[in-house]
Symmetry: C2
Subunit: 668 residues, 2 copies
């Protein structure tokens, strides 16, 4: 069996020589400065050089149960190391973000972390919704991991529509306790990560009943398991929900209640309270709890950028190393990266990585400024932030999922191998389309807001990416071969589609349909219009960012960033010409100009493709891919991976003697 | 824990009452007649009522090695039963087709069958390419499973471009043997199903060298393992390639050769021969071996129909049972099938099932008639059959993959559960985009043929679905709200796109580019044009079939089939308006007519949705889905599935004591 070769694949050496810009400059730009790069690398060394955090056998060979056990082992070690860093005063929140997010976390726990929700939901919810007194009692225990918590909201019967949750928490003033029950099978909590066998506490969202009246859903702290023995407490029905498309180490669980009693003081009471006699005291503003939901969606947009960068790195390096077929019969087999169709599959997604990152940065800033406003009682910009976070989450997760699969398929059969790490990445990415708000539902929420803006029923928009809605319908913009024209055309199209959808709603209402039914009948158009608005946002923030960089980066780098912007814009509009032809001055012959512009850009980007993905600067352990490693020794690595298969440890598997031989020897 | 309820979910009872046609009539139509339905059901009973063919623990909970062992157990039992049927004279080839294809096979071996290639490739290749003498020697042994074979063509370094294969078979006249070698790591065979640990023989495709000259690739029979001990023979390097996105029970293997000697008579010599002295005797026609490749692609189109029907059944039944959100605030939560956006996700794919089935039927007939022509030495229609099989394989596998994921996402979080059977189905379906010819490569092959037709450089086309290319550019066709107009518009668009791509190639050549480079630079447009031709084919065969049924089926059923045809056509053209606006008389305002036509059709089909998928008549064991069962008891079934998880067998997993408790008790 051939063994791995440590030298760099000559195709990659050649590619790296061709690069026209300094990849380190781009790495620094993407990290947010030299210092950030140094910190990131130091953190990566700390975690990835620790052999205990590697698995001896790749997870996919293990049974479901073994996968979980290995994940608990690693997760405990991982957070021990995080705490070590914290106690040394290094890194602060960045450590958690990296460990829980796409880059470092998914390198160590490739298929999910059973303790993530303790940090991402349990502690933040305590911080956001517990009273000061409750925080004193619980947060220290949670921070030091005396208790491990999760967040139990979704039920078997309800995800998106949380008002429909069925779990009840009924106040009993005699004992000053809440009594929790699952009145039906669909009331069982279902999905929370770590709930199956890992957490011993949970924040449970339930319908609050007191003095015979329902006050809607509220959060409660509930102990699930004995702190010493980990046995489920009486009345707690608990387990894991089983195998999934991906994330099979997250230990997603189910949870039912049969008359489980908790003290009154276990209701999280920062905003609303139940007094000992059962009196319900209202929240000053229910909008205060909105923040976490928006925050998570903002983080997902950033995660999309990270995952897509990983996958682009894998597909680009593989395509530079893989030779297949001839363009001319007389010449040798070419690098598949030289096929225009392959460039067309990969390069637009390299551009998307940048688009996502800039969009994430803008929405992150907006989130922070709106959060500050909320603390001073200013809620005016919240709906716009919410609408923007919804559409970006939907558009980026959808585009990212499609990208992962397009790029996996672009790697041919080898992309189908677990050793490529593309299948597991898809498992993580496609889940984002569903959780934290199903994409179609989110797009419809955005559409509702956009129509109000269009009709001037809402405050003036704060974001530069939203203002166009107020005048786009009146703008004249004959075709030009420019990114700015593309933006204007997309804006006109988004506004036009919204306006048309709105017209169709009104026509249906005039014919006697209820507004809600008219909305439903027009919802396909509304979803498409909101999606189009998301595209406008992405192109717009990309333009703004590249303009800003002009004075900050070298000319060599800026040229490449500008090419990527152009590619992103042209590719976006070419996929939407059906709409753009309808709502703008674009004509059939102009589409040909756009198509050849696209082709020119692919050729311009080709020599820098490997340089661009090198700039993303992923360690091989983060990529975890035989196809994507820095040295490009694809075939040697694929071969090495086969040695890890327990099936290959024996030349003859026992099933031969047990089943196959008797079958073959039988006279059939 | 609640237990399963055997009665039918009331939502499904209600839906079934609404159905406007006789579902049994449609079942018979789809099966090809009453008798075919009876035979299918009898076969399903024979296999699916056998409890030994069920797995006690769902495969996904097992380790990779256990999955393989369980698959060998089942595969041996399965083929024993097939042989039992054959010996009773029941069923003939239909048994094999069902067992090896999408419907019955994937119900029993959900993640692949390690013996499939023995029946699908090893035996057929012997039949097609072995001389009569060789057939006498080998076929009986293969039929009775004295030996188990596989087909080893693809290598680590070469898949699509088979001329590039590196394995060598060098003739040694002294011993009258071929000597097989893998001259490099990329020469290792990689991917063949069953090669890892199951097969003891293989047909190996290798570069033939004799008397110092290379004669290109040829097939050889090679023994891999000892027939008694199953130990790999000397010089045979063999094992499995590791985990994949799906098909983890197929035991895909690798294979390298180090001076492996086989008798001269092990070269398959039906068409070409090497004489004892090493003389190479040419084949009368290399086209004779073309057939198998086309045959497999034809079968894949049929498989696409089967898989998509399964997934449509699951998504439709789940959407009828699932209630979520309100359309009007005053009313109860609605069946999610009442959301127009949900109908838009599902119903067009129900229509695709029919489109695929009719396309598969036409190409199957064409395949048979061209095969008869080949036997009489007539090769004229082979290129057209080949081009058609290529584009249909590419278009149908792509649309089917997209469909599976769209429908999985339409089932929300529960679609992500392995218990939905949607993830495993995606694993099987997306693989079809890559194997048996990568889709982009196939589309380019079709494009090359279509351009010849367009330029009248080829024989006149035989297929009614191809003839349009000769005059579509000249046809005048102002917009009409009719399926026939849509077909004409799509034809004009396909011809227009091809013509434009051809113009761009010629322009590039005029500017001095080599034709091959011009082809590459135009390949994005060529791929899109070929894809468009595939859409034309699907709409066209759907129209022809529904016209034909008009006199054969009841009026009630015909109305529904016609609605599905309309939906398929309208949905196809709406996704392509960017091109259609350019190449036809379609105008912006007409798109609005098409959009509202689409919406009307969704509403018309809504009451029959459950009836339509009921007509596909899948047994629950074939669907293997908690979301899709006939009784619609989705939540009870999801819950039952959790009981099968070995992790749930103990209330506390050992990792608590080993890792979690020490971590929690440590003073962090």
């Amino acid at each position: 069996m051939p063994s791995s070769n440590k030298k760099i694949n000559p195709d990659l050496v050649k590619e790296r020589k061709k690069c026209s810009f300094n990849t380190l400059e781009l790495t620094h730009l993407l990290d947010g400065g030299v210092q950030k790069t140094i910190e990131r690398k130091s953190r990566e060394n700390f975690f990835l050089d620790d052999e205990e955090l590697q698995s001896k056998i790749p997870l996919e060979y293990l049974s479901h149960k073994e996968k979980y056990e290995e994940a608990v082992r690693k997760a405990c070690l991982l957070f021990k190391k995080v705490n070590q860093l914290q106690s040394e005063g290094k890194g602060g929140m960045d450590n958690f973000r990296e460990i829980l997010g796409g880059q470092l976390g998914s390198a160590i726990l490739k298929d999910g972390n059973p303790l993530t929700l303790h940090y991402v939901m349990f502690i933040p919810t305590l911080m956001g919704q517990a009273s000061l007194e409750q925080q004193t009692k619980w947060i220290q225990k949670a921070w030091t991991c005396d208790i491990i918590g999760t967040y139990a909201q979704t039920e078997l019967g309800h995800g998106t529509f949380i008002r429909g949750l069925e779990t009840t928490a009924t106040y009993d003033p005699k004992t000053e306790e809440f009594v929790l029950n699952s009145p039906s099978i669909t009331a069982y909590k279902w999905w929370p990560g770590g709930l199956g066998h890992s957490a011993n506490y949970a924040i449970v969202v339930a319908q609050l009943y007191t003095l015979g009246k329902n006050h809607g859903i509220h959060p409660f702290i509930v102990q699930l398991r004995d702190e010493e023995t980990h046995m489920p407490l009486p009345g707690i029905k608990i387990g894991e929900i089983g195998c999934k498309l991906g994330m099979n180490s997250t230990n997603n669980g189910y949870l039912g209640f049969e008359n489980v009693r908790i003290p009154r003081t276990n209701m999280l009471m920062k905003n609303t309270r139940v007094l000992p006699d059962g009196t319900y005291v209202e929240s000053p503003s229910s909008k205060l709890t909105y923040g976490t939901m928006i925050f998570v969606r903002v983080v997902l947009v950033q995660d999309c950028a990270t995952y897509l960068k990983k996958v682009c790195t894998i597909a680009t390096r593989y395509s530079a190393v893989r030779h297949q077929s001839q363009i001319k019969p007389s010449e040798p087999e070419v690098q598949i990266l030289d096929f225009l169709t392959q460039q067309y599959k990969i390069f637009p997604y390299i551009a998307s990585c940048f688009a996502f990152q800039y969009a994430a940065a803008l929405i992150w800033d907006t989130y922070n400024s709106v959060s500050s406003e909320l603390e001073t009682g200013q809620f005016d910009n919240l709906p716009e932030l919410h609408a923007t976070a919804c559409v970006l989450k939907a558009v980026c997760t959808e585009e990212c999922s499609r990208g992962v699969e397009t790029l996996r398929l672009a790697c041919g059969g080898h992309g189908y191998m677990a050793a490529s790490n593309l299948p597991a990445t898809y498992g993580l990415v496609t889940a984002m389309c569903t959780y934290e708000g199903e994409n179609t539902v989110l797009l419809l929420q955005t559409a509702r807001f956009l129509i109000k803006i269009l009709q001037n029923e809402q405050n003036k928009p704060m974001l530069p990416t939203m203002k166009y809605l107020q005048d786009a319908l009146r703008v004249q913009a004959p075709f030009q071969k420019s990114v700015n024209w593309i933006l204007t055309a997309l804006q006109k199209t988004a506004a036009g589609k919204l306006d048309l959808a709105n017209k169709h709603i009104n026509e249906r209402v005039k014919k006697g349909m209820a507004y809600e039914d008219a909305w439903n009948m027009t919802s396909i158009e509304l979803v498409q219009a909101a999606d189009m608005h998301g595209r406008v946002f992405l192109v717009n923030t990309f333009i703004i960012s590249v303009q800003k960089f002009k004075s900050q980066v070298s000319q060599e780098l800026w040229i490449v960033l500008d090419q990527l912007l152009q590619l992103y814009a042209v590719n976006t509009i070419l996929k939407l010409t059906g709409d753009v032809l309808k709502f703008t001055e674009l004509q059939g012959k102009d589409v040909e100009v756009l198509q050849s512009w696209l082709e020119e850009l692919l050729i311009l980007i080709r020599p820098n493709a490997v340089g661009l993905v090198d700039s993303f600067d992923f360690r091989d352990e983060v990529l975890s891919s035989a196809l994507g490693a820095y040295d490009g020794n694809v075939y040697e690595r694929l071969f090495e991976e086969t040695r890890k298969s327990p099936l290959n440890a024996e030349p003859v598997n026992k099933s031969f003697k047990e089943f196959l031989k008797p079958f073959m020897k039988a006279q059939l």
